[in-house]
C-alpha cells in the first residue's frame, strides 16, 4: 500500500543540511509511490522549498513564525503537529541530529506511536520495510519493524544516499500559519563553536586527532591534510579535554556521530565511546605509535608510527597525488 510520508527539512545558517535530502530518499523507499511532503519550519524558509523538491519531495509545507527562528521543542512540536493534523501522513522521517533527537520522542509521545531511532539502513520497501540501527555502542545491529499504525523513524546522517538533484522537478509549495504559544523554555544565549567550513556530520573525509596530537599546534598538520582532501577535522574526547581543540569537534557517543567515506584516526587509542561515533565509516585508517591500540581493530589500513613524522609525509604524498594529472 502506498504511504504518504512527512519529512522535516533542517537548515543551518540558512542552508539545508544534507540530512534533509536523505530523509526524502528514505521517505521514497517507505512511500512506495505515495506522496512525500517536506515540512520546513523557521522564521524564513520559503526560499528553501524548491531545493527540497529538486531532491525528490513532491510537496512542501512551510510554517514561518518568529518563534521558529531558533529550535525549541515546544515551538517546533506545535508547528509540526499542525502540519501533521493537516496532512495525516502514514509515516514520518526526521534526521537523527541534535534537533531530531530532541523533537522526535516528543512527537512520538504525542502521537502515541513507536519511533525507530538512528536508522542507518532500510531493507525492503513500503509495508515490508525493515530498519537497521546500531545498538550496544555500535558493536551490534538490530533490525526493527513497525507493528502497524504510524511509522516514525529518524535516520543517521550520511548513511542513506540522497536522490540525485533534478533542477527541472516542480512541486506544490504551500504555507500554513500556526499559533505558537506557551513556550516554556527561553534560549537566553547561544555560544556557537561549530567551525566554519565542512559540517562534520556530513564530511566525506575526516582527519581526527587524539591526545597523541599533544597540543593545539599539533592539530595544524591535520587541518592542512583535511583541507587538501576536502574534508574536516575531528577529535577524540581526550583531545578536547586537554584543550587541544574545541568540543564541537568531538566525535563519539557524546559527540558527533559520523559516517564519512574516509576516517583517519591520528593518535587516538580507540575507546568504545569514540568508536560508537565512527565505526560505521566506510574506510578507516589508524595512525598510532602503539601497535596494540584498540583503533587498529577497526582500521582497514594502519601505520604504526609517530604521527609527527607520518602526517607531514602524508601531506607531501597527497600533494604529489593531487598535483599529478588525473589518470
Amino acid at each position: 500500500m502506498s504511504k504518504n510520508v512527512l519529512v522535516l527539512g533542517e537548515a543551518r545558517e540558512g542552508e539545508l543540511r544534507n540530512v534533509s535530502f536523505e530523509t526524502i530518499a528514505a521517505a521514497k523507499t517507505i512511500s512506495e509511490g505515495g506522496t512525500v511532503t517536506a515540512v520546513l519550519l523557521g522564521d524564513s524558509v520559503e526560499n528553501l522549498a524548491q531545493e527540497m523538491v529538486q531532491y525528490g519531495a513532491d510537496r512542501v509545507v512551510t510554517v514561518e513564525h518568529p518563534h521558529l527562528k531558533q529550535y525549541t521543542s515546544d515551538a517546533y512540536s506545535q508547528a509540526f503537529m499542525a502540519v501533521y493534523e493537516q496532512e495525516k501522513p502514514d509515516a514520518i522521517v526526521l534526521g537523527h541530529t541534535a534537533l531530531g533527537k530532541d523533537l522526535s520522542p516528543k512527537l512520538a509521545s504525542k502521537l502515541s506511536s513507536g519511533l525507530i531511532s538512528d536508522v542507518t539502513k532500510i531493507e525492503g520497501e513500503g509495508d515490508a520495510a525493515e530498519f537497521i540501527r546500531p545498538i550496544y555502542s555500535g558493536k551490534a545491529f538490530e533490525k526493527v519493524q513497525s507493528k502497524g499504525g504510524l511509522l516514525f523513524i529518524t535516520i543517521r546522517p550520511n548513511n542513506i544516499e540522497p536522490l540525485a538533484k533534478d533542477e527541472s522537478r516542480s512541486g506544490d509549495v504551500s504555507s500554513l500559519s500556526v499559533d505558537i504559544t506557551n513556550l516554556r523554555s527561553v534560549i537566553a544565549n547561544v555560544v556557537r563553536k561549530s567551525t566554519e567550513g565542512v559540517d562534520l556530520s556530513e564530511a566525506k573525509v575526516i582527519i581526527a586527532g587524539g591526545r597523541g596530537v599533544k597540543s593545539e599546534d599539533g592539530f595544524k598538520p591535520l587541518e592542512e591534510l583535511a583541507h587538501l582532501l576536502g574534508g574536516a577535522v575531528g577529535a577524540s574526547r581526550g583531545a578536547c579535554d586537554a584543550d587541544y581543540c574545541d568540543y564541537s569537534l568531538q566525535i563519539g557517543q557524546t559527540g558527533k556521530v559520523v559516517t564519512p567515506d574516509l576516517y583517519i584516526a591520528v593518535g587516538i587509542s580507540g575507546a568504545i565511546q569514540h568508536m560508537a561515533g565512527m565505526s560505521n565509516s566506510k574506510v578507516i585508517v589508524a595512525i598510532n605509535k602503539d601497535p596494540e591500540a584498540n583503533i587498529f581493530k577497526v582500521a582497514d589500513y594502519g601505520i604504526v608510527g609517530d604521527l609527527f613524522e607520518v602526517v607531514p609525509m602524508m601531506i607531501e604524498e597527497v600533494k604529489k597525488l593531487k598535483g599529478s594529472p588525473a589518470v
Binding site: 550496544y136 534560549i187 556530520s201 557517543q253
Partner: protein
C-alpha cells in the same frame, strides 16, 4: 525538592558482545549503571544537598536491576523504586518503557526528573523526552550545567558542540550529557547504609496497567554483529614507504581520495 533519577541497568559495552540466534548473550556479562545515568544520580544528589529534599532512583527492568539501584543508593540517593516487569512482559520498546515510568511518576509531584541522554545499549535516547511529554512537563536534553533558584532553572545544553543557555522553570525533566559532573564512587559507609535504605518493588498491576496498555509499537526481528571486516592491513617497511603505499591504496584500492 522532590527529585527523581532514572537509572537503567545496561550491558557494559566495553565488554565483548556475543550474538547467538539473534539475541545478545547475557551470561557472564558485566552489567553497570548506564554511564549517563551516573551523571543523573550525581546531579540529583548535588541538587538535593544544595536545596534540600529527597532523591528517589527509579529503574524499570528485572530483579537484577536491584544491584544498580543499591549502587545509586550507596552514592547517596535516599530511596529506590524497581518496577519489575519480568513476569509480565516479554517484549518492550521505548513507548512501553516511557509509558510505565510515567505511569509511576504521574502522581508523585516530582519537581525535577533527571535521566541519561542515551542508554549505551538500546541507544534510542527516547525515554527521557517521552516521559516528560506523558507527564505534561517541560524537558531539556543533553545538559552540561544546571542551576536552580526557587522554581526557576538555568541550564546549559550541548547542541552538537554549541552551548545554549536555557531559562525555564520547574517541574522539569532533564537528560544528562557527559561533562555535567564527575560522578562520585560509593564510599564504604555509603555501601553499608545503602543496604538499609528503602527499595520498593512494583509490578504492572500495582500501576493499574495491563499488558495491552504498554504493548510495544515496534518489534525487533533480528540482532546481528556487523559484517566481519577483512582484517585491517597494518603496513610495513620504512615509514616513508608506508605513507606512499597508504596514499596509493586510498586512491587506487579504496578510492576514497
Amino acid at each position: 525538592m522532590n527529585i527523581y533519577a532514572l537509572v537503567k541497568r545496561t550491558f557494559d559495552t566495553e565488554e565483548k558482545i556475543v550474538v547467538k540466534n539473534g539475541a545478545i548473550q547475557e551470561d557472564g556479562a558485566e552489567f553497570i549503571i548506564n554511564p549517563y545515568d551516573e551523571y543523573a544520580v550525581e546531579e540529583a544528589i548535588q541538587v538535593r544537598d544544595e536545596h534540600g529534599g529527597e532523591v528517589t532512583v527509579l529503574s524499570l527492568g528485572g530483579e537484577d536491576a536491584e544491584k544498580q539501584l543499591r549502587t545509586a543508593l550507596a552514592m547517596g540517593a535516599d530511596k529506590a523504586v524497581l518496577i519489575n516487569t519480568e513476569d509480565d512482559l516479554d517484549e518492550m520498546d521505548e513507548f512501553s518503557a516511557a509509558k510505565i515510568i510515567s505511569e509511576y511518576l504521574k502522581d508523585k509531584d516530582a519537581d525535577l526528573i533527571i535521566a541519561g541522554n542515551v542508554a549505551i545499549d538500546g541507544g534510542s535516547g527516547q525515554v527521557g523526552p517521552r516521559v516528560a511529554e506523558l507527564l505534561g512537563i517541560n524537558y531539556v536534553t543533553t545538559i552540561t550545567d544546571l542551576k536552580i533558584d526557587g522554581t526557576s532553572a538555568t541550564l546549559v545544553r550541548d547542541v552538537e558542540g554549541d552551548s545554549e543557555t536555557i531559562e525555564t522553570s520547574l517541574p522539569l525533566l532533564v537528560t544528562a550529557q557527559q561533562g555535567l559532573n564527575e560522578p562520585r564512587y560509593p564510599s564504604l559507609p555509603g555501601i553499608m547504609k545503602a543496604k538499609k535504605k528503602p527499595l520498593e518493588e512494583l509490578e504492572l498491576d500495582d500501576l493499574d496497567l495491563d499488558e495491552e496498555d504498554v504493548e510495544a509499537k515496534t518489534k525487533t526481528i533480528d540482532i546481528f554483529m556487523p559484517p566481519e571486516k577483512a582484517a585491517g592491513r597494518v603496513l610495513e617497511g620504512d615509514i616513508s614507504d608506508q605513507v606512499s603505499e597508504l596514499v596509493n591504496l586510498l586512491n587506487k584500492e579504496a578510492k576514497v581520495i
